[in-house]
Symmetry: C2
Subunit: 335 residues, 2 copies
């Protein structure tokens, strides 16, 4: 198993990325790492070079680059070269903590879509109070979707939950403005019908509509949304968590002695709560011909190692191959 | 000033509603309360009947009633009668903590829209870390919107922030999947252009797109969204706050002695944080010919009194009359 890694992407690159690789190498001794970036720095940070191939690159994609053009303007960037390694069959999957827009666009153009998946969706595993988590897509790879795309997301999400997260018969829900079947925009109502059909064919386990209020409760294993709404919901969750921590911190800081002592005593537990906000692993642009994982821009070595573990599971489970097979077989049902 | 109140709506009706009225009467000695509901119970709970008219009704709208039909099926309900009092000019505004769907539908049909406001939007004031708050609409009165509706929400939101909340030159932002002008669905891009035009005409102070991640930071005073996305974002915020409290509570409960002591010491401050989640006042179906306010279903007397204060401000500021005037004058600009 070979994984291509963009060493130069993310706020703490290349240090956090390489230290994450050092950790992951212990967990996955059979994995080979193709590392793209500044050769000298990479070599300095690596604990050893076993199962490692360093590919020196001269450019770095940053947040000012136009995502639509990086393939042309930053040909020798660590990100574009890492993606290209997958395209050329030199690696099984790619991981980057760099600019989301650039990574998704370059990944889509270079790696390409699974046949019949018109619009790959951005998927991530979000936390629930019970610690089990759920997968949600599309989180914003698309600013607009057609009903058929959301039908694909139900299939893609089910495959991910089953094969990558090991959930048997994952419960799929459709994000709407009410749990009742009658709720939603015209598009959501149409998708509802499509998912009911997939359910009747036993292709997914559809449990109906879900409101954004209930998704963190662990009622569903997969939540299907259009990219615009999914993106807004994800960011609302992130923003709320971050705001509540700020308020909690300043409450403790500006409180009386009693509050300060109390705050100091529960500090460790609060950081456990905080980890809830950072989600689990990275975000996958799912529906491509190979796994492409975007780690958080502010990933530390642990987060990188965790994202490598996620890529490992995706490759090992052959979830992409299984999807290719599904979409190949279902000639008649799927346009 | 006369306010019609549905005494029978909400989880703790009529007790919470009448106790809320008892409080509000002290704050607003010039206000007259038209109270609709069970006469005996209302009389029992009222501290005194100064400035009060009780209108006995025999029915109660509940969550099983079809919102589209309550006007016909529950003609003598406290909710429908309270709305009708506004229609007949017997009251200046209406307040209910009952079923949202029924209240919005009956209110729209009975009170009617301000001329040229095609789709009134649901508006509420949400909390920010700095305590200032912001107004957001539409929060789900509509499952689908046209660009013109969102243009109206920018105007409506500005008028509310200025006249009801006293914010000079309120900053209006458009909810999108990125802060850049280029971000968003085709509809959001079209709305962006419309709001820029309103800004050039000095009719609003438009500051551009905003992501759901940043709305709680107090960057904008008014956030404009389509009803489907606005509803999802509001519910994601509510759900995240509620989940974090659950996790925090169970962390403290299941923690060691140190954590338990810490939790006990900061308990009061946590409840201050919790109040952040309940928002400020009720939700307004804004764009009607008179104020219609929906208090939370689980309102306690304080929440009811606060919502009455909100109604008082809306009536006193004559915000609805000012909007009628605006839409009357702007014959040429507004279709």
């Amino acid at each position: 198993m070979k994984i291509a890694i963009d060493a130069m992407g993310g706020d703490f690159a290349p240090e956090a990325v390489i230290k994450g690789i050092n950790q992951a190498k212990k967990n996955f001794p059979e994995m080979t790492f193709l590392i793209f970036g500044d050769e000298v720095k990479i070599r300095e940070l690596l604990e050893n070079e076993k199962n490692v191939e360093i590919v020196p690159t001269t450019e770095v994609v940053d947040f000012h680059d136009d995502p639509l053009r990086v393939i042309k303007t930053k040909k020798d960037s660590s990100m574009v070269r890492a993606i290209q390694a997958v395209k050329l069959g030199e690696a099984d999957a790619v991981l980057s903590a760099g600019s989301t827009g650039a990574l998704l666009t370059a990944g889509l153009l270079q790696i390409g879509r699974i046949k019949k998946v018109e619009r790959p969706g951005l998927l991530t595993t979000l936390p629930t109070a019970d610690g089990r988590g759920f997968d949600m897509l599309d989180l914003g790879a698309n600013a607009e979707n057609k009903p058929e795309h959301l039908r694909d997301y139900a299939i893609l999400g089910s495959y991910y939950a089953k094969h990558v997260r090991g959930i048997e018969n994952p419960r799929v829900a459709l994000l709407s403005n009410g749990a009742e079947e009658s709720k939603g925009s015209a598009m959501i109502k149409e998708v509802h019908g499509m998912l009911q059909e997939l359910n009747e064919q036993s292709l997914i386990h559809f449990i109906g509509n879900i409101e954004a209020r209930d998704i963190l409760d662990g009622i569903a294993d997969v939540v299907v949304a259009d990219g615009f709404t999914g993106n807004a919901v994800l960011k609302a969750i992130e923003g709320t968590m971050s705001t509540m921590f700020k308020v909690l911190k300043s409450t403790i800081k500006n409180g009386g002695l009693k509050t300060k002592i109390g705050g100091a005593l529960i500090k460790n537990d609060l950081s456990a709560l905080k980890s809830m906000g950072s989600g689990v692993g990275g975000a996958v642009l799912f529906g491509l011909k190979a796994p492409l994982v975007k780690a958080h821009g502010n990933s530390n070595p642990e987060a990188i190692a965790s994202a490598i573990g996620q890529v490992h599971k995706m490759v090992e489970s052959q979830v992409v191959g299984k999807l290719v097979e599904y979409y190949g077989k279902k000639e008649t049902e799927i346009k």
